[in-house]
C-alpha cells in the first residue's frame, strides 16, 4: 500500500529528528566507548573546594533571584519570535521590517528599564560600621 | 610616657613583679610577673593604656608548670611589656578574649598545641590540628606520649 502523499512528507521530519538525536548523542556514546574510566569513592560527589558539601542546596532562596529568572524568560521568548522574522527579513520593505523589530524589542526592553528603576539590579551593601 | 603610666596602672593589682627590662638584651621595656587569675585585670589595664596584644603563647618550662607569656605593644609609643604567668599543669587559665578579641585565636592555638584550657573562651576548639587529633605536640613529653609514626592517615 502506498503511503498517502501527505504522510510521506513526515518521513523527512522523522529522518531529521533521527539525525538531530544522533548528532546530540553521538559524542556521548563515542566518549563512553573510547574514553578511560575514572573511579573513586567521591567521584560523583559535589565538588566544593575539596570538602564534603555541608547541608543541601535545595533551600528557600532569596526572592530576588526569581526576578532575574523572570527577566531571562522574557527575553528568551523574545528570541523565539525573532526566528520567523529572520526568514522573512528584507524580502519586501526593509525599512518596515526594521522599524517593526525595533518596536517589538523596544516594548520588551521596557521590562529592564522598569526593573532598573525599581533597583532590582543594585545589590545594596548593608553598611556595617562598628 | 608609657614607661611610668603602665606601672602606675598596674600598681593597684599588686602583681608579683613590675620592673623595667633591659631592652637591648631582651627587647622588652617592662617585665611583669602575674598569676593567670590576674590576667583579665592586667589585660583590662593595658587596654586602657592603648596597648594592643602583640602575642600570646605558652612555654612548657618544667614538669609541673607551664608559663603563659603575653606581649603587649603600643601603636603610638615604643613600649613593649611582657607578662609571664606561670600556670600549674592541668589547671585552667582565665581567658582574655572578652578584653582582646584577637586573643581568641591565640588561646585556641595554645590549647591546640599545649592542652591548656582557657575558662570562659567562646569556642575552645582545635585551631591548627585536625579536629580528631588527640596529641598536644609542643609539650616536652610529646613524642613519648603518643607513638607518632609519620605514615599516611588511615
Amino acid at each position: 500500500m502506498d503511503i498517502p502523499e501527505a504522510l510521506s512528507d513526515f518521513s523527512f521530519v522523522l529522518v531529521y529528528l533521527l539525525a538531530a538525536g544522533l548528532f546530540a548523542m553521538g559524542p556521548i556514546i563515542i566518549a563512553y566507548l573510547i574514553a578511560p574510566k575514572s573511579f573513586g569513592a567521591t567521584r560523583d560527589a559535589v565538588y566544593e573546594c575539596g570538602m564534603p558539601a555541608i547541608g543541601s542546596a535545595w533551600i528557600q532562596v532569596a526572592v530576588i533571584y526569581y526576578l532575574f529568572a523572570l527577566l531571562f524568560l522574557a527575553f528568551d521568548v523574545d528570541v523565539l519570535f525573532l526566528f520567523p522574522v529572520l526568514l522573512a527579513y528584507g524580502k519586501g520593505y526593509v525599512w518596515r521590517d526594521f522599524v517593526e523589530i525595533t518596536i517589538f524589542i523596544g516594548i520588551l526592553s521596557l521590562v529592564i528599564v522598569y526593573a532598573w528603576c525599581r533597583g532590582v539590579f543594585s545589590w545594596k551593601r548593608k553598611q556595617v560600621h562598628p | 610616657m608609657l614607661l611610668d603610666s603602665i606601672p602606675k596602672a598596674l600598681a593597684p593589682l599588686n602583681l608579683e613583679k613590675v620592673d623595667p627590662g633591659d631592652y637591648s638584651k631582651t627587647g622588652c621595656h617592662l617585665e611583669v610577673a602575674a598569676t593567670p587569675a590576674q590576667m583579665p585585670a592586667v589585660a583590662e589595664a593595658l587596654l586602657q593604656e592603648g596597648c594592643f596584644l602583640e602575642s600570646l603563647t605558652a612555654v612548657d618550662t618544667s614538669k609541673a608548670a607551664f608559663t603563659l607569656v603575653y606581649h603587649f605593644a603600643n601603636f603610638s609609643e615604643l613600649c613593649r611589656t611582657v607578662v609571664h604567668a606561670s600556670l600549674a599543669k592541668d589547671t585552667e587559665a582565665p581567658t582574655i578574649s572578652h578584653v582582646y578579641p584577637g586573643a581568641n585565636w591565640y588561646e585556641r592555638e595554645v590549647y591546640d598545641l599545649f592542652g591548656i584550657k582557657f575558662a570562659g573562651h567562646p569556642n575552645l576548639k582545635r585551631l591548627l590540628l585536625p579536629e580528631d587529633a588527640t596529641i598536644h605536640p609542643l609539650r616536652k613529653e610529646f613524642p613519648a606520649e603518643a607513638e607518632v609514626k609519620a605514615e599516611a592517615p588511615k
Partner: protein
C-alpha cells in the same frame, strides 16, 4: 502575608582549601542567606608544618632555612628577624656594610612581595593583565637576588653576624637600572588599575577596618596603615640600618580596600627610595663580624625581636636555657592577627566582597598555620 511556617534558611558554603582566591589552603565556612553573609568562620591548619616543633629539636644554624619557608614571599625579613634575635642573645654586633646589604636585599624582597600581591589580588577581582605586568617586574628582582643569594624565593641568605656574600658592581648597576624601570611602570599601574571604574566600585567603601578594631585584634602592617595609624616597625622601633634613611610611612584615610591598595603601592615607592639611599651611602668594610662562635650556645634567657615584613610585624620570641637547641621559639606572624579580624568584617557583606576583603589583607597561609 502568609508565612506558612517557612523559616528563613541559610545556605552553608565552603570557600574551601582549594580555591583560587584564598592564596593557599585557607577554608572559610560561609553561612549565607541569599547574597549576604550571615556568618563566616575561617578554618585554618591545612598548611600547618610544625615549624615551632621543629625549632625545639634543631640547633640555631639548622633552623635558619625554616625561616625562609614560613613566609616565602618576604623570606629575607624573617631571616632578618631571626638573625637579629640570635645576635642579641649571643651579643654579636653586625658590621655596617652587612647592615646595609641586609636593608637593600630586604627592601628588594618587600617589593617582590607587594608586586605578587598586586598581581594575585587583581586576578581575584577578575583582571588578568596586571598579573602578567607585575610578574614581569618581579622576575627582574629575582634575577638580582638570585645572583647573590642563589635562590629565587625561599632565601636563606643572612648568617649570624653578617652576610656571607658581598655585593658586586653588576648588582649595584642592576639595582639602579631596575629602580628606574620600576618607577616608569607606576604610570601603567595607576592607569591600568587605580583609575579603573570596576576596581573603584569594588574597592571604595568596602571592608572598612576601624581603628578600634585594629587595636583590639592587633592588626599590623599595610592593613593597619590603611586605617590611618602610621605604625611601622622600621620607624617606631628602628632596627638595623633603617634610622640612617629617610622614608615616609604612607597611611590611608578611611581604611577601606582602596586605601590599603594605595598604601602598598606607595610603600613600593618608599622601598625604592630606601634602596637608592642605601646604594649611595654604601660604606665599605667587612661584611661579617670577626668573632662569631662556631657553636651557638647562648646563655639562658629570652629575647623578643620585632621586624616589619610586607604583611605586618613579625615578632620572634626565643627562650633559651643555655643549650645548643632553643628551648622554645614562638613566631608572631602578622597574617594570623590580620585574618582573625575577618570573622567580624565579613558579616553582612556580599559574597563578592568576601573575596575582595580577603585579598586586600594579603594573607600567606603557611605563615598563618606555621
Amino acid at each position: 502575608m502568609i508565612t506558612s511556617g517557612i523559616e528563613e534558611k541559610t545556605f552553608v558554603l565552603n570557600l574551601g582549601p582549594q580555591h583560587p582566591s584564598t592564596h593557599g589552603v585557607l577554608r572559610v565556612l560561609l553561612e549565607m542567606d541569599g547574597e549576604y553573609i550571615a556568618s563566616a568562620e575561617p578554618v585554618i591548619g591545612y598548611g600547618h608544618r610544625a615549624h615551632e616543633h621543629m625549632a625545639e629539636n634543631r640547633n640555631y644554624h639548622q633552623f635558619l632555612p625554616n625561616m625562609g619557608r614560613v613566609d616565602y614571599l618576604h623570606a629575607l625579613a624573617f631571616n632578618h628577624g631571626y638573625c637579629m634575635a640570635v645576635e642579641k642573645l649571643i651579643g654579636v654586633t653586625v658590621p655596617e656594610r652587612a647592615e646595609f646589604i641586609r636593608v637593600i636585599t630586604n627592601e628588594l624582597n618587600r617589593i617582590t612581595s607587594h608586586l605578587l600581591w598586586f598581581g594575585a589580588y587583581l586576578m581575584d577581582l577578575g583582571a588578568f593583565t596586571p598579573f602578567l605586568y607585575c610578574f614581569d617586574d618581579r622576575e627582574h628582582i629575582l634575577d638580582l637576588l638570585d645572583r647573590i643569594t642563589g635562590s629565587r624565593l625561599t632565601y636563606c641568605f643572612y648568617r649570624f653576624g653578617g652576610v656571607p656574600v658581598d655585593l658586586d658592581e653588576d648588582f649595584i648597576f642592576g639595582c639602579r637600572a631596575f629602580i628606574k624601570r620600576l618607577r616608569s611602570r607606576w604610570v601603567d599601574y595607576h592607569n591600568l588599575v587605580t583609575k579603573n571604574v570596576i576596581f573603584i566600585h569594588r574597592a571604595k567603601g568596602v571592608g572598612i577596618f576601624s581603628k578600634e578594631q585594629c587595636l583590639l585584634y592587633g592588626i599590623t602592617g599595610p592593613s593597619l596603615r590603611g586605617s590611618g595609624i602610621p605604625y611601622d616597625i622600621r620607624k617606631s622601633e628602628p632596627y638595623s640600618a633603617y634610622p640612617l634613611f629617610d622614608f615616609k610611612i604612607p597611611t590611608g584615610a578611611n581604611g577601606d580596600i582602596f586605601d590599603r591598595y594605595l598604601v602598598r603601592l606607595e610603600e613600593m615607592e618608599q622601598s625604592c627610595r630606601i634602596i637608592e639611599q642605601a646604594l649611595d651611602k654604601l660604606p665599605n668594610g667587612p661584611i661579617m663580624a670577626e668573632k662569631v662562635p662556631k657553636r651557638i650556645k647562648p646563655a639562658a634567657g629570652e629575647v623578643y625581636q620585632a621586624v616589619e615584613t610586607a604583611r605586618g610585624e613579625f615578632g620572634i620570641y626565643i627562650v633559651s636555657q643555655g643549650d645548643i637547641k632553643p628551648y622554645r621559639i614562638k613566631l608572631r606572624v602578622p597574617s594570623f592577627a590580620n585574618l582573625s579580624l575577618m570573622v567580624e568584617s565579613f558579616k553582612d557583606n556580599l559574597v563578592a566582597d568576601v573575596v575582595a576583603i580577603l585579598g586586600s589583607i594579603d594573607v600567606v597561609i603557611p605563615e598563618i598555620d606555621r
